[in-house]
């Protein structure tokens, strides 16, 4: 039978001020903001791997998500692609959001697969749908779209209905059976 821990009263997520102070001490001032009890830190693309390594050493053992936002049509955006890394710590119950901005042409960021193996497929999906290259990724190829697909569909300049790829297949009739 599964061992059930004794009932505990629910607790709220812990604030991350100590983590922010440690990051500022190690990497200099970083742009931080808070929105609806969620803390976001902007990290430059060149320092991103060291920051993640430091955060993992501080106890952020769960990489919740790696995703990307294409700011092409966003008012007031300074960069085109904003990578979003959501981290969580199961031991101290803290959450942190790291934003890394990259630009065209050839947006590239160092891969965090050596730190968290879960990032493997998440980064492949970002490459597939947005076209952001991850240096050091062991197996960067398309995940959800077919291998022959050439575009990066979730970019803002790709139309919702596609460019006709979905119609481009042979038709079977009754006499082909």
């Amino acid at each position: 039978m599964p061992s059930i821990p004794p009932p505990v009263m629910p607790h709220q997520p812990t604030p991350v001020n100590d983590v922010l102070e440690a990051l500022a001490a190690q990497f200099g001032p970083l742009e931080t903001s808070v929105f609806r009890d969620e803390t976001r830190v902007v990290v430059p693309a060149l320092k991103s791997f060291e920051v993640f390594r430091a955060l993992k050493a501080r106890g952020f053992d769960l990489l919740v998500d790696v995703s990307c936002v294409d700011y092409l049509e966003y008012k007031g955006a300074k960069h085109r692609y904003g990578l979003v890394y959501l981290l969580a710590s199961t031991t101290t119950n803290q959450r942190l959001t790291i934003r890394v901005f990259v630009d065209d042409p050839d947006p590239t960021v160092r891969s965090v697969v050596p730190l968290w193996e879960g990032a493997n497929w998440l980064e492949r999906e970002v490459w597939d749908l947005f076209g952001i290259r991850f240096e050091g990724h062991p197996d960067l190829r398309r995940l959800v779209m077919p291998e022959q697909f050439t575009a990066h569909p979730l970019r803002k300049d790709y139309p919702l209905q596609g460019r006709g790829e979905r119609h481009n297949f042979p038709v079977l009739t009754r006499d082909d059976g």
């Binding site: 077919p146 979905r166 038709v171 009739t173 006499d175 082909d176």
Partner: protein
């Protein structure tokens, strides 16, 4: 008995006279073996139709064999995306004649809510379909009604040799392949079938 005189034939009770086609149809319709091509949510309703509350076994279609060589009814339940369509076509080709296809749900019939770059806007663009079941997802009762209607269709139109699949009516594709209204460019030069269809449309107006 002189020539020109008609005589009523007296049959004993255990003799049935019928056309060979009707007998074959009766056998085929009452033992349709479905090939569930379940991709998405409609697949769950398909499983629910086969489960104990809405029992599909009552209509002879209990045997959900997953091998295309053993089935004669393909139920495409759920959306079919670009990556999956060659698989669907290959399975359709592997099924033996006579075979029928039910397109279950809005996504398989027309693309449903997903008018996106990846979803095929109706499988009848690429394989021949006999019965469409609307709904998102259709209730199990709707699917059962579709199977009953397909059974009626088989009884009405079926033949023992499968001649009904050779008619010109069946051969003609029922929907246009090229959507003239959307401003998209299709790489039609790679697809000879589209070229043929385009030539037909231009010729016949």
């Amino acid at each position: 008995m002189a020539v020109g005189q008609s005589q009523k034939l007296e049959l004993p009770e255990n003799v049935v006279v019928s056309k060979l086609d009707e007998l074959a149809n009766w056998c085929r319709k009452n033992s349709l073996w479905p090939m569930p091509f379940a991709t998405a949510c409609c697949g769950i309703e398909l499983m629910a139709t086969g489960a104990s509350k809405h029992d599909l076994a009552r209509f002879g279609a209990e045997v959900f064999r997953f091998s295309p060589r053993q089935c004669d009814l393909m139920i495409v339940a759920g959306r079919v995306v670009m990556k999956m369509l060659p698989v669907l076509q290959r399975i359709w080709l592997q099924m033996h004649e006579p075979k029928w296809c039910i397109s279950m749900g809005a996504c398989a019939s027309t693309g449903g809510v997903f008018d996106t770059y990846a979803v095929v806007q109706g499988i009848d663009r690429f394989i021949p379909v006999d019965m469409y079941v609307p709904g998102c997802p259709p209730r199990p009762e709707q699917l059962i009604q579709a199977i009953i209607d397909l059974q009626d269709k088989i009884q009405r139109e079926g033949t023992i040799t499968g001649r009904e699949f050779d008619t010109a009516e069946r051969q003609r594709r029922k929907r246009a392949l090229v959507e003239q209204s959307l401003p998209i460019t299709i790489d039609a030069s790679r697809n000879p079938v589209i070229q043929r269809e385009l030539a037909d449309t231009i010729q016949h107006g």
